[in-house]
């Protein structure tokens, strides 16, 4: 769970009485044996309930002692597959992040009991987020990979798995971590290359749609827009944004605005926000590809679907807040939407959690969530024509696919070391341990179907309505059958970064039209593809799509 969300829960709703209730319900859950569950299932429930009581929701931030305790209590799966002392003398190097003193700091605690039991020793490479990409890319480019286990985002699978730098996951690991429990979009092909599985997920990520409910109940605004329900398609969003111009914000009394598009780049991450609009037009349910043609790597970014998305943004520019040309996604989320400017936004889970938890947020009580808007029409690249489905086409944008743990090929030649590396990784990605990470400050979001069992959260002491609100829209996006999955090809952020530059020129008026802007992006993408190698990109793109 994100730190700020946890702090909020602790700060606001949780009293000592409530904590006792939570502890009591955990105790009663553990004591009740007559629910018809098998002995092992019951034992697992016991563990899940017990670890959720460490240190106890509302009993202060977890410490290293707590992490070690949780690591010890969730060691059963390791014990089943590894004999005590089996990895004596094995040394492994783990490269990961040190964001907010989480990530690697937690892993150290979780793995300490594992080290004591197996006899292996782990050396740590801690990196700040900003140093991560250069460190990884340089290690790959100069052939100096010096880590056996790596915490890595799925978009980098193109840079690593495609080059044979990763070790294939053994079958016993798949069973130990119960991969079938993953939410839909994290199942294969994500985490796999050419049919081989490499990733143990420890996190989930996607964009969801956040909107202000007070914009829908305000009499003057509703009279102007004619809407009392949240828009569900981009066509409705456009109509709303245009109609709300001239009204006053119900919360702040300042000018009212509709959907907030970030018009400034964000180191490549800004492109995800054009994707939010484009995926509904461009991601056809019968076609897994939506950014490139998988047979030729010809960009689709200048096809009518994408041009429509760019045109939508251009059309909405006159009704956006002044100076929006200089607003990046961070600005639209934290300085605008959460601070009371604008009615709608697409963002990661942070906006959802911070809306209620951040001191600078004024929209906590009036914010609602859903999956990203759909579209009344969807473009079919096979027929090169628009289609109008019976119901709108939804394609939630799985922007950045969350963190995972991978094992590198440095251990492939040494079976003992290999088993040790996978055992350590599997311990971190274990089903029960992941529940604790989802519920307490860890920097990771829920990513398993079992994480959305709200009874467990309630029993642990969380406010059910809050948890359902927070998790609901994420769960719907994760499991959507037409989710727009990010292409995990080498250099994907290069494509995004150059697209941001060209979009800035389009939005700034250098290019005459949306089509011209899209053509410029496509031309720049073609150059990158040629530079990285078209044939290999085609093969890797197909592999990443599971084709």
């Amino acid at each position: 769970m994100k730190v700020e969300l946890y702090n909020h829960v602790v700060r606001s709703g949780l009293t000592r009485r409530r904590l006792m209730q939570g502890a009591a319900s955990i105790g009663s859950l553990a004591a009740m044996g007559g629910l018809g569950l098998s002995r092992s299932a019951l034992a697992q429930d016991d563990v899940r309930a017990a670890i959720l009581a460490i240190p106890g929701v509302g009993a202060g931030s977890p410490t290293d002692a707590d992490w070690q305790k949780v690591g010890e209590m969730t060691l059963a799966a390791t014990r089943a597959n590894v004999a005590e002392g089996e990895f004596a003398g094995v040394e492994l190097t783990f490269m990961g992040l040190n964001n907010q003193n989480l990530h690697n700091f937690l892993f150290r605690g979780f793995l300490k009991p594992w080290e004591a039991y197996t006899g292996a020793k782990i050396n740590w490479i801690d990196l700040a987020q900003a140093d991560y990409n250069p460190r990884l890319q340089q290690a790959i480019a100069t052939g100096t990979v010096d880590f056996d286990i790596i915490e890595m985002g799925a978009p980098f699978e193109g840079d690593t798995a495609s080059k044979g730098l990763l070790d294939e996951m053994p079958d016993w690991v798949k069973a130990q971590i119960d991969m079938d429990d993953y939410v839909g979009y994290l199942k294969a092909p994500v985490g796999t290359w050419a049919g081989k599985t490499y990733r143990i997920s420890i996190d989930g990520d996607c964009h969801t749609f956040a909107y202000r409910k007070d914009y829908l109940s305000d009499a003057a605004i509703s009279a102007a827009t004619g809407m009392t329900e949240a828009p569900t398609t981009w066509q409705q969003v456009q109509a709303f944004s245009n109609a709300v111009k001239g009204q006053k914000d119900p919360l702040t009394g300042l000018d009212a605005y509709g959907f907030l598009d970030p018009l400034k780049g964000w180191g490549g991450f800004g492109f995800y926000f054009l994707e939010d609009r484009a995926s509904a037009y461009a991601k056809h349910p019968d076609d897994p590809a939506w950014l490139f043609d998988p047979d030729t790597m010809k960009p689709r970014v200048n096809n009518p679907a994408w041009v429509q998305a760019i045109q939508d943004v251009m059309d909405t520019m006159p009704v956006l807040p002044p100076d929006q040309i200089n607003a990046d996604p961070g600005t639209t989320a934290f300085q605008q939407f959460l601070a009371g400017t604008g009615a709608m936004i697409c963002w990661w889970g942070d906006v959802g959690s911070m809306a209620r938890t951040s001191d600078s947020s004024v929209v906590g009580d009036v914010v609602g969530f859903s999956i990203n808007p759909g579209s009344d029409k969807v473009y079919n690249t096979k027929t090169a024509a628009w289609e109008t489905p019976a119901t709108p086409n939804f394609a939630p944008n799985m922007a950045y696919l969350g963190w995972g743990v991978y094992v590198t090929n440095r251990v492939s030649g040494d079976e003992k070391k290999r088993k040790a590396a996978w055992s350590a990784a599997a311990h971190l990605g274990g089903k029960d341990l992941s529940l604790w990470m989802a519920a307490y400050p860890s920097g990771f979001q829920p990513y398993r179907n079992s994480h959305f069992n709200f009874d467990e959260w309630q029993a642990a002491g969380y406010d059910r309505a809050f948890v359902e609100d927070y998790l609901g829209s994420n769960a719907d996006s994760y499991n959507h059958p037409n989710a727009a999955i990010e292409p995990r090809i080498p250099g994907i952020f290069q494509y995004y970064s150059v697209a941001e530059d060209e979009l800035a020129k389009g939005f700034g008026g250098t290019y005459k039209s949306a089509q011209e802007t899209a053509d410029a992006i496509a031309a720049a993408w073609e150059k990158i593809t040629d530079q990285i190698g078209r044939d290999s990109q085609i093969a890797l793109y197909k592999a990443s799509l599971g084709m």
Binding site: P321, P322, Q335, S497, D501, A504, F507, G508
Partner: protein, 367 residues
């Protein structure tokens, strides 16, 4: 003791035996040969023609260090005291060569390569391919054009700095306080300036500067909304940080001018303006030129404020060459092309600075 030769500069007489000289030459050439052999062997291994089991380039580095030590020692062995004198400079020269010249040569090698870190084929020599790409790259030319504007702003900055320095040099109340106060912006990191001013004070809804602008009648203040305004705002933030630097240099120069000169001019009937224009300003030219040149060097590195505040936008209007190279290199891992752009920029800077220094020399020469 010898009584011939350069008795003024030579401290000890050199009695170099032919054996010693020969040994000196032997270790120099021997270590050079070893260096050449090791480097060649490693190059051949990289080229795939030989496999000696080297995993790193350290053997070549060690051979280079051995050669450097032998070269220094050999100087003393073969040239006696003259060699010892050389030792005062030679190690430093070798150090500079290792840390500047070699990386520059490697940099050139990369600059003429097609090297995208994501490419599975790695670095490929592509001749003038990057130069051709640069020639047709509107983003680079746009950034260079912006740099011309940014550099021209130095003239205005100089005028302001000169004015402030004159004020602080005059007998005003609280002079020491103002000197420290005016220096404050220079002590701030440009990143802090970006966030404090560009992102906070200029925030269009709640930022104090935006409120002030509204109070002054600008209905919808936007400091980065249009190309011209954005560029001007970046210039102002950068100037605000660095004008104190020029000011303090000019102030030091002003304080070094003897008071008698102004007094003599006044006795001769010069007005305040003529006293400044005919006496102070010409005397300040060498300091001014130095201040402007150093400021220009700072200016050519301008990137941090732009990266933080506008990312080069809107539509590239505020991009500097460095901020563009940063994007090309960091966000797009385009190492080869990014290096070439930096090299071309380096050459342009060297040419421009050389011309400027020649001109400065001419301007400051007494008539």
């Amino acid at each position: 003791m010898s009584i011939e030769g350069d008795l003024l500069h030579v401290v000890t007489p050199d009695d170099l035996s032919p054996k010693r000289v020969a040994f000196g030459r032997a270790i120099i050439w021997g270590s050079a040969a070893a260096l050449a052999l090791v480097a060649l062997a490693q190059t051949m291994q990289v080229a795939g023609q030989l496999d000696l089991g080297f995993t790193t380039w350290r053997p070549t580095l060690y051979a280079y260090i051995l050669w450097a030590v032998a070269l220094c020692w050999g100087q003393v062995l073969t040239r006696g005291e003259q060699g010892k004198r050389v030792l005062f400079v030679l190690p430093a020269a070798l150090f500079v060569v290792s840390l500047v010249v070699f990386p520059l040569l490697f940099g050139l090698l990369i600059a003429f390569s097609d090297w995208n870190l994501s490419s599975p084929t790695g670095r490929k020599f592509n001749g003038l391919g990057n130069v051709r790409q640069m020639w047709g790259d509107p983003f680079y030319w746009n950034a260079l054009a912006n740099m011309v504007w940014y550099s021209l702003a130095i003239i205005v900055e100089y005028a302001i700095a000169f004015g402030l320095a004159l004020l602080l040099n005059a007998q005003i109340r609280g002079r020491k306080f103002f000197r420290v106060a005016f220096l404050m912006p220079l002590m701030l990191s440009p990143v802090a300036v970006s966030w404090m001013i560009g992102k906070s004070m200029m925030e269009i809804r709640f930022g104090p500067l935006a409120r002030l602008a509204r109070a002054l009648g600008w209905d919808n203040p936007s400091f980065f909304g249009s190309a011209e305004v954005a560029r001007a705002t970046i210039m102002m933030m950068d100037s605000w940080t660095y004008i104190p630097f020029m000011m303090i240099m000019i102030l030091a120069g002003l304080q070094a001018i003897p008071r008698e000169l102004q007094e003599a001019a006044r006795v001769d009937g010069a007005s305040a303006w003529r006293g400044f224009w005919e006496v102070t300003f010409p005397l300040m030219l060498p300091v001014s030129i130095t201040a402007i040149l150093i400021r220009l060097i700072f200016k050519l590195k301008l990137a941090d404020i732009i990266i933080n505040v506008t990312s080069g936008g809107p539509g590239g209007a505020t991009d500097s060459v460095t901020s563009f190279i940063f994007r090309e290199y960091r966000d797009r891992s385009n190492v080869g092309y990014g290096t070439l752009l930096a090299m071309v920029y380096l050459v342009l800077i060297v040419i421009a600075m050389t011309i400027l220094m020649k001109l400065a020399e001419r301007w400051t020469r007494p008539r």
